[in-house]
């Protein structure tokens, strides 16, 4: 009575497997940053904020809004880690795909670093074992253990990449180029090492040295970039061109810093719709990218109390403040930079300044880093390019000063990590730079001066209750104040 049933129950429009490199591409393209990072991380480091509440509540008011804090969790676990783990499962025993296996480990390490930096303790050893091991509610690992795992994975995977083995040409990040993948892996390792500078300087130094020895990113051609297109758009670009087009502004501390230092990048990044009294009036005819007219939105106001600041700055309305230019730097198809040569060189500058690496001076690394980021502007949009002469002028006018090097390097790192919210947030917590005044919003829900981590998703509290409570008991309250392990 069941003749033909086996054949009938085979899905004729899907496959039981596909080439795992295509799945890695899925993980890669999903590594781009979430829109939630604009509401929290980018706001915490005072680069962009909104005066509006509701869906935009976050760092602007120093309040907990779990719809936004959840975004990193969902995006990285559901997409990046799931797909990279699928690739790892499919390739770990396949010698001919060893490069793919190791590439997947690097993509995954990148995602885990964003996750643990955001939340602290997270599921790691038991994660992504729902299908393979029927682990539906994974336990949480300490951040220390997660970092140990990330460093181990990056070290092993990067070392194991081998140009003599099969090349994964269908890879969308580097077309399988082993040299570039090694630089990416080592640059991530460098980032992981530096992250531990406060909590375990000895290990940090050791990891950094190993990364440098392996070879890190040195040119913008080495950058790990998601080159968004019409079908795979830049999520932040989409947000800032659609529902939130008129609701998010460059923050005053960021604009003021760039203005004060005559930074040519301000012209690449910013636009002001002069005289705009509303969102609809933010039209091309009002657009000015002239650095002199840029006015960042001060922190600490809602869309009512901001009106005094509007008057003080002689603006037409809050819609008249400076925004990131959504026709250039955050257009729908603008690239997402996961790890850049600029960031890498600036981290090396700090390492050199700390005497953790030798051979090249901190100043050299610093100048390279700043120059690379200014050159990187052209990669967002041709109209954002910074002229070489302007770079030279800038470097001459704001030279490296050894006495305040850590502040100078990490402030540059802050600029170089603009639009990479998770990294800017992590490095701000680690280094303490740039020196920012706390957001004075009167209705904040945090006890301290700055948000120190993001809160766990409601879904974990609801479904994975026991394990998330273990993590909370170990790490501290599930709020925005609790510091993560490397930030203690």
């Amino acid at each position: 009575c069941d003749q033909g049933f086996d054949e009938l129950n085979i899905n004729k429009t899907a496959a039981l497997s596909v080439n795992p490199v295509f799945i890695l591409n899925n993980a890669t393209v999903n590594s781009a940053f979430t829109t939630g990072s604009v509401i929290y991380e980018t706001g915490i480091v005072q680069q962009m904020i909104s005066p509006n509440s509701g869906v935009l509540t976050g760092a602007n008011f120093n309040q907990d809004s779990r719809d936004n804090t959840v975004q990193n969790w969902q995006k990285y676990y559901r997409n990046v880690i799931r797909n990279s783990q699928d690739v790892i499962n499919q390739t770990q025993a396949v010698a001919s795909r060893s490069n793919l296996y190791n590439m997947a480990r690097i993509i995954q390490a990148n995602a885990y670093m964003i996750l643990t930096d955001s939340y602290g303790d997270i599921p790691y050893t038991d994660a992504e074992k729902g299908y393979t091991n029927q682990i539906f509610l994974p336990k949480y690992d300490t951040q220390q253990a997660v970092y140990a795992g990330i460093i181990k994975e990056l070290t092993e995977a990067t070392a194991a990449l081998d140009a003599t083995k099969a090349i994964e040409a269908a890879d969308v990040l580097y077309a399988g180029n082993i040299a570039l993948w090694k630089k990416y892996g080592n640059s991530l390792l460098l980032r992981a090492g530096m992250r531990l500078s406060k909590v375990d300087a000895a290990q940090a130094q050791q990891v950094v040295a190993k990364a440098l020895q392996g070879g890190v990113m040195e040119s913008n051609a080495d950058n790990a970039i998601i080159k968004h297109d019409a079908n795979y758009v830049n999520g932040i670009g989409n947000m800032l061109n659609a529902t939130e087009a008129a609701n998010i502004y460059l923050a005053a501390p960021f604009v003021d810093y760039l203005k004060k230092t005559n930074d040519p990048r301000l012209k690449s990044i910013a636009v002001r719709y002069v005289g705009a009294k509303s969102g609809p009036e933010q039209v091309a005819s009002r657009a000015s990218t002239d650095p002199a007219v840029q006015i960042g939105m001060p922190l600490g106001f809602d869309n009512n109390t901001i009106s005094a600041e509007v008057t003080k700055n002689k603006l037409a309305s809050f819609y008249d403040f400076t925004q990131v230019d959504r026709t250039r730097m955050v257009k729908m198809t603008a690239p997402s930079f996961l790890v850049t040569a600029a960031q890498t060189q600036l981290l090396l500058a700090e390492a050199a300044q700390r005497n953790w690496v030798t051979g090249t001076s901190a100043e050299t690394y610093y100048n390279r880093g700043v120059r690379l980021h200014m050159e990187q502007m052209a990669l967002y949009d041709a109209n954002s390019a910074v002229a070489a002469a302007d770079i030279d002028t800038y470097l001459k006018a704001t030279p490296y000063v050894a006495a305040t090097a850590l502040e100078q390097i990490n402030t540059q790192y802050w600029v170089a990590s603009f639009l990479n919210g998770p990294e800017a947030f992590a490095n701000f917590r680690r280094s303490g730079f740039p020196k920012l005044a706390p957001n004075p919003f009167p209705g904040k829900s945090i006890k301290g001066e700055f948000i120190k981590r993001l809160t766990y998703p409601n879904s974990e509290i609801s479904a994975n209750t026991v394990h998330v409570k273990e993590a909370i008991a170990r790490q501290g309250a599930d709020d925005l104040d609790t510091k993560v392990w490397w930030d203690k």
Binding site: L16, D64, W73, R82, S278, M332
Partner: protein, 1027 residues
Amino acid sequence: QNRISGTVTNSADKSPLAGVSVVVKGSTTGTSTDGSGNYNLSVPNNVTLVFSFIGYGSKEISVGNQTRIDISLSESAEALNEVVVTALGIKKEAKKLGYATATINADALTENRTPNFINSLQGKIAGVNISGLGTGPAGTSKIRIRGQSSISGQNNPLIVVNGIPIDNTNFGTNPGNAAADNSIGVRGGGNTSDGGDGLSSINPDDIESMTVLKGATAAALYGSRAKDGVLMITTKTKGNGKGIGVSFNSNYTNETPLDFTDYQYEYGQGENGVRPTTPNPTSGQWSFGEKFQPGMTQVLFDNVTVPYEPVYNRIRKFFRNGSNFTNTVSLSSASDKGGFNLSFANMDSKGIVPNNSFNRKTINLGYSYELSKKLSFSGNINYSHEYNKNPPNIANQDNSIPTAIYNLANSMPLDLLEAKKFNAAGNEYIYSRFQNRTNPYFTLSEQFQNIVRDRIFGNISVKYNLLPWLFVQGRVGQDYWSRDQDYNNFPTGQASIAAAPAGFVNGTYTQESRRFREINTDILISGTQKFGDFGFDFNVGGNKMYRRSDLNSVLVQDFVVRGLYTVMNGRVKDPIYGLSERAVNSVYGSAEFSYKNVLFVNATARNDWFSTLSPANRSILYPSVSGSFVFSQAFNSVPTWLTFGKLRAAYAEVGSDTDVSPYSNNLFYGINANLFGGQPVGGSSGTTTLPNANLRPMRTAETELGLELKLFDSRVTLDAAIYNKITNDQIVSAQISDASGFITTLINSGKSQNRGFEMLLNLVPVKTPNFQWDLTLNGSYNKTKVLSLLTDTPGERITVGTHVFNGELRQVVGQEMGQIYGFGFKRDASGQMMFGGNGIPLRTDDLISYGSALPKWNGGINNSFNYKGINLSFLVDFKLGNMMLSGTNFNAVRHGLHKMTLVGREGGVLGVGVNAKGETNTVKAPVQDYWSVVRSLALIEPVIYDGGFWKVRQITAGYDFTRFLPRNFPVKNLKLSAVANNVFLIKKWVDNIDPDSFGYSSDNLVGMESTGLPTTRSIGFNLNAKF
């Protein structure tokens, strides 16, 4: 041998009765009356003739030496010999049944009708809970028989037309709900309209009768399809007399949108206590402005200055009156050999949203014919063409007319909003910083959706009498539909979507075609034998079911030519194709023993084999046993007031065939439609549910006991049942940690228990020749408890769905099914509310329970009065004992429309309670921030309500004009009725909305109200004429 002839008439109106069985008592010799009520029969001497007819009391006449016997039969109120259509279309005498059924008179469906006919039965059937969803005229209907049993799967009953199941897939707005086959959510975002269900293609005028098989035993012969009971619909297959009878029915109703809002109109549009005073304000969805004072003005759009004053009656101003106009013509004929019924019907519905309409044309042909004494056949074919134009988006925060209208700032003039729907460039004029709260007039003007369904279903049945007591019957039935749907849910120019790149205009457009086919082939051998006091009936048979559905869909985004919505014109194109197939093969049988016509025992068994299950789990047996005892006829001396009395008991095990989808045994991979960087992107990431190869369908075991009484010449009639239903092996879609790689997993371990009783009490308090008062009370109580999920540990839980932002529906072991959970106000040990340093309420550490969203009580009270042909009836119905989370109130609170936000408008809200240190809170919080906690903290306690209600559901007044018709007038029968539906809300608990409107048509997401259309009151007439 004597030749006997005569005429059988209806005792009431002396009209001839066709098809009356005339049988020599104790033999198989007999005949039936022809279309004129005449019969002719040769009989031996000194016999007794038994005249019997469905719905009429039978009579026995001793022939003696008579040659002509004219008799009249009375419609039997007792229905002692009432015949009921049971599972597989087998007709049985009601008194033999050991389980509960309810038979619905066709008038209940046609007189006071609703576009989806089933909604007209709300509150009328004991134990059956029917809800329309407030989603437009072509919307879906939710039917629950004896409560919801499935923790996370489907709960709608099986629909059977003339013995063969038809499809009732619903195309609702189903957040996170995948249908039986393929997911039926729509693509491209922005479309949350209700695309209707399968029942809506039935024209109620074609229905002859309907039986509800309530319990598992009644439905047991449907095995794996019987979990939620069965609606057995019998359509007309012949007329009432010789020649061509023509009947005409016309029904018109006018629908008035009902406004239940009771918003604050003291403070107007604006935010943070400030009204708009400069051009292009974006507070259009906020009413946290200034206190209205005479002479104040506000500046809206491009410097339009208008008075700052309340704008009342938004619902009536935006929505129009809807209407439904149905006309049916049917032709029918009957002879002693058979007959036919052919009907044509047209229904035009205008929805209350001004661009929404629904048209349905149906043609139905039913026929039956007796080729010889041995061979007969019958069949029916139903064709429908439905065009659902612009079903509105509902139950969603964004891009939805109802949400935008219900939340609109309370001083926004609607005429201005309409006049300013476009800006100079022809795009949406932004009026709110919530750009996704699309201007409803822009939506009305620019958004379209067309759903066209062509459907043909029917079956052919051939019956052959092998022996006088044994027949074999074969049937083939098919339900086929194609459904074309296209929509532009983000029209060009909509503010909530990003501008297109240079050279293009923005917008999205989706075009889909679906096809569905289900074929059922069955065979049945049926016999009946009598040995003295013992009777024996049996049926054996088998069924093959094959179902296939497929989908072509193309979604495009951004256009070259403005206003041209075609897939070719799109810049980004995303096509998909989906195919799903499944089959179930079954064999079944039943045996029934009777003793002296007072004691009946029936046993059935069905075995199903499923294509969707792994070979080891594939074969499943579903047994049942039932008995009935007619005690009123069992003893020689029963009191005279006891007209009829019966006890019944039943036990059955049935299942579900829809909960294991095809291909759910494996993780399947796909390739995205578009390359990225010139390379394919693949993965299984479309699947958020972790597959489980060992799933079994769930299984329900139900025990029921029932009592039927007719007392005092049927002036009092009672039918009551209690039941206990255990649903095992439920497939639990458990929310799991995202870190597992999936969001949910399917596990075969859920167990729930439905316990309840239902009763139908008919009283005839007054009965005189000219006046009769009928009082019908039906009521049911059902409580569904979750016994286990992954384990049976009390408190263990899963989440089956979430509200738009906040709150979720959980199943919790040891609690009633459908618990609403969400964060509440944090309170200290002494119960005082706690506030943060900023004066804003703190939320509880965990989500807390607010009770079950499933109604425990539902029923209706119908009073019907008949005075000299004037009939007046009114129905009050109720649902009680359910909680709801109101999304409409959630928005009303955070947008400053709800009256609870009036406190603290000046100077802030001083929360009564303590701060974290336990000191009395002294910090005033700005009112807008204070109430934003429903969103920012998902603190939903302020918007949890009791979802129950009492309503005057229907009023019908009718008059039969037949008696005034001249004898030779072509019209033989004329009846006119005035009808009203959803007449008056007697009692409710939820603010600002009708508790009946709940938006989601998702099968198991209940109690999560999210703004739907206003409900309507309909008033109209029904005219029925026979020629």
